[in-house]
Subunit: 694 residues, 2 copies
């Protein structure tokens, strides 16, 4: 009863607030747009004019940014309302786009700003465009920096639409500021257990699938463009490489919208892992693929013929950039793990969090500085951080880093999507070609189908537990396009072909996010995919019914068993506090090296366990004693238990299976010779440990 | 014994790591500086050249930023080492400056970059400098944006020192990106109890003191400049307004260094509050003061004569900008409080934190867009958020927001200080004038003395509990200059006078941070100021011995008693969930209004308390039952208790005193008619409540 009262009270209040903010936003836009240029310079002094203009420009920039902040605020409030009422047909990103659209319309049609006097046109007789220009204006030198090329027919527009161009961000902002936190967060929050169990399939979908999708879409679009030429519907050049490029950028699926709903509904964990893993890696592949296609530059006069050397060069570049970004990302992750391993930074959570943040950021910058792809590096850095560094962090820092990147991800994502909406109206060079758009939608659909169904068929030949057809349909349906496609499209809109791609991609994103994103819940129930599954409880259902979970190991093991053993026996002990001491895993001949590399803490743990095993063994009735030397550690803070776990001795295949199965529990086991029974039906300790911890 | 082993192990490892990173940083700088321009364009195509140059520039930017990130990483590791060994002679900011200096030296002297070909000089016959320049280069249009004016004698240097100028950030970055989180954090973490208790004195020091300091320094510097003119040591114009401007920017004291040490050593809370409050508000006053001085523009030909109208205009501007920024800051804080009050956003911590962050940021942007001072608005927004919004946040969001701004503050602060070190060598237009520097140090010293001692004397006339002489000496000593002085100095370095100010201020900051900051511990023990004081336990000591705490109320009450009552009875209930229901505080005639504005939760709380008081009263033996209807609430999360507190009924002066005294405890009291005994010796419940909560 009381809840009811509060609810309706807060409902009414929220609605009021909501409209109030919307109105104030509109008003604000109008006011700050209209008022700012009114301050005319009344003083003749040169300096004051310049100063005033700089101030004016700064105020204008602040106002522009403020529009976006208010947009985000509005989105947050509406999201809350939706969540509050469990309204799932429109995801927050879809909502952000709608608000963006509304503000775009207002900016475009409702606000008129007087012509800006601060733009001058001048001729110049140098033959390349310098990056920096020093202009001698009546005896004083001013420095100008190159902003970009403007196509000749738009020169007059430029001056008229100064205002619209002002709310248009530098496209590199998306790639260098907004995308990295999103991608890092995706890597950092990858559900490790299910990800590794389905690693083979995920890699197949991400690599082979994206390439298939890219070429299928590219070919279809080339056909479409040829057709358009026949009907003289094409207003400019559109080469085959452009088609392939389009195929690459539109093949990047977005992990955001569908997965948010999956997460909320607790959809089958394997389904979740397949889709999430695919769309995360997918992005990385698409980025590198598109830059390789751009790099395809045959020698000679006609730069759009086919040439084997150039193709090989592009392919080499793909491999080089991808592996380079991969190694850089992993390397920084490992360095961070080592730093947090060797220092006692965990006593100072602020320093620890700051270090973690800075190291992750530096991955991006390092990759960019080396000519690799920062976004890809950041993804693998995130995965490495989650796998190693996370175990060395103090519990507070684990929370802090998670929350920090969650927040950054949330803000960046909603910003991108609301900007997407805005840009539909404020972007100057839209080229909407109906034929191209229809072709693109068709191609995207066919490309996705050519990725999922044949690959699933092939994978099912190898998989013991098949990816069933309802899963395949769901994956087909869930191929939304989002932030990555947008960022890749807006990065370069100089030529006719790129402008048409950009406009078309905007529509593809809108459609998939609204229609496919909005229909996720329906599709899930229509395909009878189980929801409300506790991912810790469920281990094999959904892939094939009635099979025993243990055997899933076989399914994934061929791919990474060797890596897993190596990781567990050598990497984890070297990089984290959670592995078994190296002295027990390395062959005896490497004794001194092992002793050098093993952390005092690991040795200490082992000694402690040997000395007073009986003290540390949990003998609570709920826990089956045959589980052996399990110790639960509560650290200095008392409140938290570490989520890292360790087994000493050589990892057996049972360990592997079990670690994958229980990797997500908040439970530290610093045991030696962990002997687990062969019964795999239910994770046995999670509940009892929870009981213990109250 | 075990600790010893770990310690020395980690010590060795840390040392190794440390040098490794330092070396790699140097190497990295050299490599990425030297290698990047080597990639010469081998293709003649215009587009590729432009694209390559853009890419090159992007890579260079990434590398530059990476230098700073690595610098910060290095600083963090060293800070950890210092903290680990309890080494307090060098604060992290001092350390960041040292590393900045080292990198600056390397960049300046060890790295040589070939002349950049991308800069062209051209003449132009327009008579004002346009903000945007369209240049027609062999038929293509390129857009250039104005970066700034370059003095004529440096035009040739510009091209040579491209590299050094590249690591030089746009000065507005400090004001618009780095300073706001620092200032917001200061406001958000203001210790409310002691701040309010000493509000009169703090305001006096901050407003009157800063103005005194500004004018004393300005006059002394004017004398110094006159003297320099006599000895023909002055190489350019230096007007009286410049002197005053210098006085204003150098009067901003920095809350960072000394207070970090104070906090660590748990120095007397009143001392802490006085210094912290002063230096926080001080910054705001200095910003507005300096911009008012810049705005002093007498009409007529000679713009540096004295004119009453211009002075009044400046004074009006000071009042206008300050009060405008203040109201904006408070308004956004209140709006945030209202939003979090009326919505049930606390169920979704991510949304709540994001909203909090965005609203706080929008304060800054809004103030800037309106022509007020964003930094000042952000400060008051922070204080308001801490006072109202914080009470409406869920416990998780309280932690999250605190941690988020703590992190941002930490990063921004260390970035600024390491940049300060760097800029000593990389800044192009340093003018070090020995006479001016000596004069400035003297003036800063005298100005600080003229602020602290006379004001303390006057304040002591009014204060019942005197600010003793050792406190005065400590405040005198603790007047460090830091981030704000730097940001104000670097903002405009166009003229001779400004360049000399900037160079001198750098030295002032270095000196005060290293010498005064480093000597804080010595000074504290030399002045016999108590350390290791639990601020919750100690209430009046240090101001005057042997007095009873209760009476401190009288000392501060005259200033804000009315405000306090208003706040407690009306604002808190309207804006937060923690006040008494309005129905009890408003006069009966306002019944309907009160019922409308009172949150259901507050009414609910009250009903609950009336219905089943007995259930909620703590009857633990440790708590004196005469304390009445105290209820301890643990919320849904179980782990946390809210830090907001409430008393119902009209606030009495005892309430006031007590709220100030116990405001920091993690304890919720939603009681009615809280009757506390008159004994004020020790806060009685904090310990027992803690016992209760284990």
């Amino acid at each position: 009863m009381e809840f009811r009262v509060t609810f309706s009270g807060s409902r009414r209040a929220a609605r009021t607030l909501w409209f109030l903010i919307l109105m104030s936003l509109c008003l604000f836009i109008t006011v700050c747009r209209a008022s700012s240029p009114q301050e005319e310079e009344d003083s003749a002094m040169q300096n004051i004019v310049t100063e005033k203009r700089a101030e004016e420009s700064h105020r204008q920039d602040s106002a522009d940014l403020l529009i976006f902040i208010l947009l985000l605020t509005l989105t947050i409030l509406t999201i809350w309302l939706f969540k509050h009422r469990r309204f799932r047909f429109l995801h927050e990103t879809g909502l952000a786009m709608i608000y963006g659209l509304i503000v775009g319309v207002i900016l475009r049609y409702a606000v008129h700003v007087p012509r800006d006097v601060g733009t001058a046109s001048m001729g110049c007789f140098v033959n390349i465009s310098p990056a920096t220009l020093l202009v001698n204006i009546s005896g004083k030198f001013y420095e100008y920096t190159l902003k970009g090329e403007i196509s000749a027919n738009l020169v007059n527009d430029v001056q008229d639409n100064e205002m619209l161009r002002k709310v248009t961000f530098d496209p590199e902002v998306f790639f260098n500021i907004l995308l990295p936190p999103i991608i890092f967060h995706a890597g950092y929050s990858l559900k490790r257990r299910h990800f590794f169990r389905n690693m083979g399939s995920i890699l197949a979908y991400a690599f082979v699938g994206t390439v298939i999708s890219c070429f299928v879409i590219g070919l279809l679009m080339y056909g479409c463009v040829m057709l358009m030429k026949q009907f003289s519907q094409l207003g400019g050049d559109f080469f085959f490489t452009d088609c392939l490029f389009y195929g690459a950028i539109v093949s990047a699926t977005d992990p955001v919208t569908v997965l948010a709903i999956f997460h909320e509904l607790q959809v089958d964990a394997d389904m979740y892992a397949l889709l999430f893993g695919e769309s995360v890696l997918n992005d990385a592949v698409a980025v590198v693929l598109s830059s390789s296609i751009v790099a395809y530059q045959p020698q000679g006069d006609n730069s759009h013929t086919f040439e084997v050397m150039a193709l090989l060069k592009s392919f080499g570049m793909f491999l080089g950039v991808f592996s380079g970004s991969f190694s850089l990302g992993v390397a920084t992750g490992v360095v961070t793990a080592l730093i947090s391993f060797f220092t006692k930074l965990r006593d100072f959570q602020l320093l620890e969090t700051a270090l973690f943040f800075l190291m992750s950021w530096s991955t991006f910058l390092l990759a960019e500085a080396c000519g690799f792809t920062g976004v890809v590096a950041v993804l693998f850095c995130g995965i490495t951080q989650a796998h190693y560094t996370f175990n060395n962090l103090s519990p507070e820092s684990q929370d802090r880093t998670k929350q920090l990147f969650e927040l950054l991800n949330f803000l960046a994502e909603n910003f991108i999507f609301s900007y997407m909406g805005l840009t539909l109206f404020t972007f100057q060079n839209h080229i909407f070609n109906p034929m191209f758009i229809v072709g693109a939608f068709l191609a995207v659909f066919v490309g996705r189908a050519a990725n999922i169904y044949p690959l699933s068929f092939l994978l099912n030949l190898g998989r013991r537990y098949k990816i069933r057809s309802n899963f395949q349909h769901m994956m087909m349906f869930a191929g939304l396009r989002g932030a990555m496609t947008f960022a890749l499209s807006i990065r370069d809109t100089a030529t006719f072909a790129r402008q048409m791609m950009f406009s078309t991609n905007l529509l593809v994103v809108f459609f998939t996010v609204w229609v496919c994103g909005g229909g996720t819940t329906q599709m899930l129930s229509c395909q009878r995919i189980r929801v409300g599954v506790d991912s810790d409880q469920d281990n094999s259902m959904g892939l094939a019914d009635g099979s025993e979970r243990r055997s899933t190991k076989q399914e994934s093991a061929w791919l990474f068993r060797i890596w897993y053993n190596f990781d567990h026996n050598y990497l984890k002990p070297i990089l984290t506090h959670s592995g078994p001491p190296l002295t027990t895993t390395l062959p005896p001949c490497c004794g001194p090296v092992a002793r050098l590399l093993t952390s005092p803490q690991a040795i200490e743990n082992e000694c402690q366990l040997k000395d007073d095993d009986s003290d540390l063994i949990l003998t609570d009735g709920d826990i089956n004693l045959s589980y052996g030397d399990i110790t639960v550690s509560t650290d200095a803070m008392g409140a938290h238990t570490n989520s890292g776990r360790s087994f000493s001795g050589t990892a057996t295949s049972d360990d592997l299976d079990r670690e994958l199965a229980y990797g997500d529990h908040e439970l530290v086991m610093r045991g030696t010779r962990l002997v687990l029974p062969m019964d795999d039906s239910e994770p046995p300790f999670s509940d009892s440990i929870r009981n213990l911890r109250m």
